[in-house]
């Protein structure tokens, strides 16, 4: 049987893992890093760069460098969250015919799954190089709070990249699998997952190899990016106060600020203060202006306190749904890069009245969990089983616009449940089934995820026909809805057709393109740009940009690029 890799397709960074002969391996990328930035760049010479290379060039080429694409997966252009995010990204978003988000870059229009597929393809290639064989199957993780269309979009991305997505699992659940707790003993753990773009919290009960999720909650728009943004806002307003120049209008300056903010934030997890230096950030009549600022940990905590506090409510909700108190929790596991921040650790300690468990690598735990699940599906591991829950209530719209719940949120999946409905008019020959997800009593206040008609109902008085609506959620968390007319005993089951996303033929076309044209362009990017890039990176370093106390990673980067450069020369 062919190998199955586990992929953590993150908002800011992605990571790949595999279990071989019972041992976990995190697969390094072609530059020997254990995580790969989820960044895709289109350069002027028609090449596509993915990962570290793309991220390094981001400063020169902000409009054509796509990051945080995960925020737009399976979303509509007119979503409120999208409206906000447009302001935060330098690349251009446009609506598709069906209202989905599209990205206009390099004179082409791309769907979010296509761009995610480019990241996946790069990860796949690196895995193939590492394993020395073809990889065609993967388990991919998504935030627990991803809805049906976001999950579908993730599956589509896999397909376009030439990967069969054998399972979609939730990130916090994956992290639990990787936590390494002895599964013989029964215990309750909390996974607190604060990543680049999303916050998820899940409560699980472990015992005899079964990882049963009790409840899950979170915020799809709370993550490390928001912490960076808080720092950027601070720097921009300080600069405006002293120089009277608004840096917000300059995309290159903003990109440099973002890089510096992220580095400062990371360094402030270990240092008490950092100096941020951005020379030539702006030009005025008097000449070039430089940004120089000291950021202390105290100031950072003051700037981001509200963000850390915002994680408390989902945690409390998760406890309520699981019917547990903080003292019932045995361990709190921290996942996601942002949890390295001391302020977050203090917040977690306050919420759960317990020191958090630091035994897992917050950057790699999710990929490791995906790898374990891959091994279970391959049949190699037989003593682990995941039982996840659905993060939303699901139901249909009934008379008067009311939302009739069929599946309650936090129900274990797989699940199959049905309810019986009837017609509201005499001789009604069809019913329209509108499927919604959410918790509000009125359907219109929830999110519609699909609609279909059940036709051919025999003439009858209102209230007489019996229509069974069945909801089915599989282990991937993907929903199928069918309706059946019970009066005629004639089965008319219809699968739901989502009103968003890509069609089968679109995916096929993209997949073929990706297999030939894009593959060549990505490959071209990897080979040809190694040299050019080295020069660019060293020039950036020469300008002494960035923060103090970061030498190690920068050194490492330089070294590995140098290696490639040398290899090529050979």
């Amino acid at each position: 049987m062919s190998k199955i890799i586990g992929i953590d397709l993150g908002t800011t960074n992605s990571c790949v893992g595999i279990i071989e002969e019972g041992k976990l391996f995190i697969i390094p990328n072609d530059e020997n890093f254990r995580t790969t930035p989820s960044v895709v760049a289109f350069t002027k010479d028609n090449t596509i760069l993915v990962g570290n290379q793309a991220k390094r060039l981001q400063i020169m080429n902000p409009e054509n460098t796509i990051f945080s694409i995960k925020r737009f997966m399976g979303r509509k252009f007119n979503d409120k969250t999208v409206e906000n995010d447009i302001k935060l990204v330098p690349y251009k978003l446009v609506p598709a015919d069906n209202g989905d988000v599209r990205i206009a870059v390099a004179e082409k229009i791309f769907s979010p799954p296509e761009l995610s597929a480019m990241i996946l393809m790069k990860l796949k290639k690196d895995a193939e190089a590492y394993l020395n064989e073809k990889v065609e199957k993967a388990v991919i993780t998504v935030p627990a709070y991803f809805n049906d269309s976001q999950r579908q979009a993730t599956k589509d991305a896999g397909k376009i990249a030439g990967l069969e997505v054998v399972r979609i699992i939730n990130e916090p659940t994956a992290a639990a699998l990787a936590s390494g707790f002895d599964s013989k003993t029964r215990m309750r753990i909390v996974i607190y997952d604060l990543g680049g773009g999303t916050f998820d919290v899940s409560i699980l009960e472990l015992g005899q190899g079964i990882f049963q999720v009790k409840s899950t909650s979170g915020d799809t728009h709370l993550g490390g990016d928001d912490f960076d943004q808080a720092i950027i806002d601070f720097l921009v307003s300080e600069f405006y106060k002293t120089e009277g120049i608004d840096l917000r209008k300059d995309r290159v300056a903003l990109q440099r600020l973002k890089d510096a903010a992220e580095k400062a934030k990371i360094n402030l997890s270990t240092l008490d203060s950092v100096e941020i230096t951005l020379p030539f950030i702006a030009v005025s009549k008097e000449g070039a202006k430089h940004l120089k600022a000291i950021l202390t940990r105290e100031k950072l905590e003051q700037l981001t306190k509200h963000l850390a506090e915002a994680t408390a409510e989902p945690c409390e909700k998760a406890l309520i749904y699981a019917e547990l108190r903080p003292q019932d929790i045995d361990e709190v596991v921290l996942v996601g890069g942002q949890t390295k921040m001391p302020l977050i650790r203090e917040t977690v300690k306050r919420i759960f009245k317990k020191e958090p468990y630091l035994g897992v690598n917050p950057d790699e735990a999710v990929a490791a969990g995906a790898a374990y699940q891959a091994s279970v599906l391959k049949g190699d591991i037989r003593d682990i089983l995941l039982l996840d829950v659905t993060a939303f209530s699901l139901g249909i719209k009934t008379e008067g616009g009311l939302f009739s719940k069929i599946i309650e949120k936090n129900s274990s999946i797989p699940i199959r449940k049905s309810e019986i409905y009837t017609t509201t008019k005499d001789n009604q020959s069809f019913v329209r089934i509108e499927v919604y997800q959410g918790e509000k009593p009125m359907a219109a206040d929830n999110k519609m995820i699909g609609t279909f008609d059940l036709v051919g109902i025999p003439s009858a008085k209102k209230g007489v026909p019996k229509i069974e609506v069945m909801f089915d959620i599989d282990a991937n968390g993907i929903i199928k809805v069918s309706a059946k007319d019970l009066t005629t005993q004639k089965e008319q089951a219809i699968k739901i057709t989502p009103d968003s996303g890509l069609s089968g033929s679109e995916i096929e076309k993209m997949s073929t393109e990706m297999g030939s044209d894009f593959a060549k362009r990505i490959l071209k990017g990897q080979k040809e740009n190694a040299k050019q890039e080295y020069q660019q990176v060293s020039s950036i370093d020469d300008s002494k940009e960035g923060t103090i106390g970061e030498t190690e990673t920068q050194e490492k980067k330089k070294k590995s690029i140098f290696d490639i450069f040398k290899k090529k020369e050979d």
Binding site: R167, Q208, L387, D472, D474
Partner: protein, 189 residues
Amino acid sequence: MTKKLNYYELLEIYPAATQEEIENAFRLALYKYHPDHNPDKPEWAHERTAEVVEAYKILSDPIKRKIYNFQILAPLKETIEEHKFSIFQIGEKKKFEDALKDFKEGVELYTTNKANSLLKFQQSYATYKLHESIYNMGVIYASANKLQEALHAFKEAERIAPENNHYKRVVERFQELMRDIDRARKTGY
């Protein structure tokens, strides 16, 4: 089609199983049926796992389990015993047939519309004193968690047909159930 198993049969445990035995059986059943462990028959695995999950949800909650236990003991009556009427009792026969019609409609409606089903049984009972009808009313009240009304109905059924041992047993078990639930609620189980 195979007969739908009750939750105890599905988890392969005795109805008197302890909470710990239920937990263990649930885990074993998951290993046996979960789609992850049955890649060759995903549809079957999905259906079975969904059932196992539902069974565990009910049986692991003491109050839900008690009510479920009672429902296994007292299913809805779907047939009515034949009555013989002499030639001089045409009016009675008509009344019985009307009651029978309502009874059947009530059974028909049971799965889809409990409120209308209950109404039909009430009509049936009012037309002709059928103990089956009033017993069914009790079942519906019990499933709707209206325990006082249910008990009243079962006692009435027992009063009309004292020779029926099933009613006697149901009344006894139902009183027991009410006491258990009362106690569980007080101690906060």
